[in-house]
Every structure is written in structure tokens, then in C-alpha cells.
Amino acid sequence: MVTVYHYVFLAAVLFTIGAYGMLSARNAVRVLMSIELMLNAANINLVAFSSYSGTVAGQGLASFVIAIAAAEAGVGIAILLVLYRSMRSVNLRDAAVMRW
């Protein structure tokens, strides 16, 4: 039988992969995609708990998360485009200017 723990475990794995990608990627677009992964993992958690408890509120929250994630991706990419215009590259290592 599939218990809630299966879903939680899946979400944990997805989250870890997403975190790893966010922290180690050089390309900014890849970073944003990793962030999307993490958000989805959280969503799976939400919906799983909601479903296994017999409520529907988790799904409502999850839809909010989806909306916000989409908005954040949009704004993030807009920023990336501005960065690309001045730097001609979206490599985050090249953008390490404000440092000691």
C-alpha cells in the first residue's frame, strides 16, 4: 500500500536534487529551473498531506504556490535578460562583482 510517507520521501528526494542544482549550477537559467523543482516538491508534500487527511485545503494552497512560482519565474527571467544585456553572459561566476 502506498502511504503518505512514500509521497513525502519523493518530495524530499526532489527537493534535495533541486537544492543541489540551485547551489552548484553555473548558468542562471538552470538555477531558476532548480528552484521550480523545489517548489514542486513542496507542493507534492502539501497535496499528499491534504489528501491523506481527507481535506481539500492543501490543494487550494498548492494552487497558490503554482501561481506564485510562475510569477517568480517570469520576473527572474526578466532580470536575467537585463543581466545578459550588460554582461553578454548569464554565467553566475562572471557576475561575482560585488565582493570583498
Binding site: 500500500m1 502506498v2 503518505v4 543541489y20 529551473m33 491534504s50
Partner: protein, 165 residues
């Protein structure tokens, strides 16, 4: 039985897609991997009985966000470089540690929640009840709307070509 198998297959797809996002050499392939992952997640939602949410997921995520990322890849010409830079250790270590911690907490609960899936509805009406009902999440809903508006305006303004407006 069937359920277990189905769940396993879908999970593997999701994980594979996730791995692809992070490890694919060409960024274009990474975006496609992301699409695979997101669709798998939609399938997960269906196994959980959240049909409405699954549709939303496909429409918004797999449909809108993935296309957005494709645009981003193309516009920033990120697909052309294949550079491989050395990995640093701090990032993976911290991510893995975090994951371990999460698993640890999961294990600590003692796996008491044995039950089967509860009878939660997943249709539009039920979700709508939750979202629009003033006693539940009507206010967050409105705020999300405003946030979307702000994000939209901001994104457009940021990405504009010339400085005229």
C-alpha cells in the same frame, strides 16, 4: 499492487526528470527534462485524487513556465556553451546534508501514519469552495492576484528594449 507499481513508475520519471535538469549538458535538454518532471508531478496529483490541481499543473507549469524557460535559453544563447567547470564541494554537501536531515525527521516520526488515502475530493467545485470562501482562503487568493499583477508589470518593465517608457 497496481497502485504501488504505478506510483513507482511515476516517481522514477519525476526523479529522472529532476536529475536531468541538474546534470544535462545542454541547457535545452535540461528544459525538456523539466517538462518531463512537471508532467510526472501532475500524474502524482492524479494518484492523490487532485484532478483539478493536475490540470492546473499541466496548463501553467508544463505549458507556461517551460515555454518561458525555453525563451530564456534561446534569448540568452545559453545553449551554445558546453563549458564544464569544476564542481565545488560546499554546495552538494550542504544540499545532501539537508536532505539527510529531512529524511531523519521523517524517520523520527516512527511511521505512524499507516492509513490509506482519505476520501478527499479533488474536483473544481471543492477546490473552488476552498479558494473563494471568505472563511478560508479568499484573502490570500486576492493577494495572489495582486502579486501576479505586480510581477507582470515588473517583468515587462524590466525586460523592455529601449528607454523610452
Amino acid at each position: 499492487m497496481i497502485q504501488d507499481a504505478v506510483f513507482l513508475v511515476i516517481s522514477l520519471c519525476a526523479v529522472a526528470g529532476a536529475a536531468g535538469v541538474v546534470f544535462a549538458q545542454r541547457l535545452f535538454h535540461a528544459v525538456l527534462s523539466l517538462a518531463l518532471c512537471l508532467l510526472s508531478v501532475a500524474a502524482i496529483y492524479i494518484t492523490l485524487g487532485a484532478e483539478f490541481l493536475a490540470v492546473i499543473q499541466v496548463l501553467v507549469y508544463a505549458g507556461g513556465v517551460v515555454v518561458l524557460f525555453l525563451f530564456a535559453v534561446m534569448l540568452t544563447k545559453s545553449d551554445l556553451q558546453l563549458r564544464r567547470e569544476p564542481l565545488d564541494t560546499f554546495a552538494p554537501v550542504s544540499a545532501v546534508l539537508f536532505g539527510v536531515l529531512v529524511l531523519f525527521y521523517i524517520a523520527r516520526t516512527g511511521f505512524v501514519a499507516h492509513g490509506a488515502r482519505g476520501a478527499a475530493p479533488g474536483d473544481v467545485a471543492s477546490v473552488g469552495q476552498v479558494i473563494f470562501s471568505p472563511t478560508k482562503y479568499a484573502l490570500p487568493f486576492e493577494l495572489v492576484g495582486i502579486l501576479l499583477l505586480a510581477a507582470m508589470v515588473g517583468a515587462i518593465y524590466l525586460a523592455r528594449r529601449d528607454e523610452q517608457w
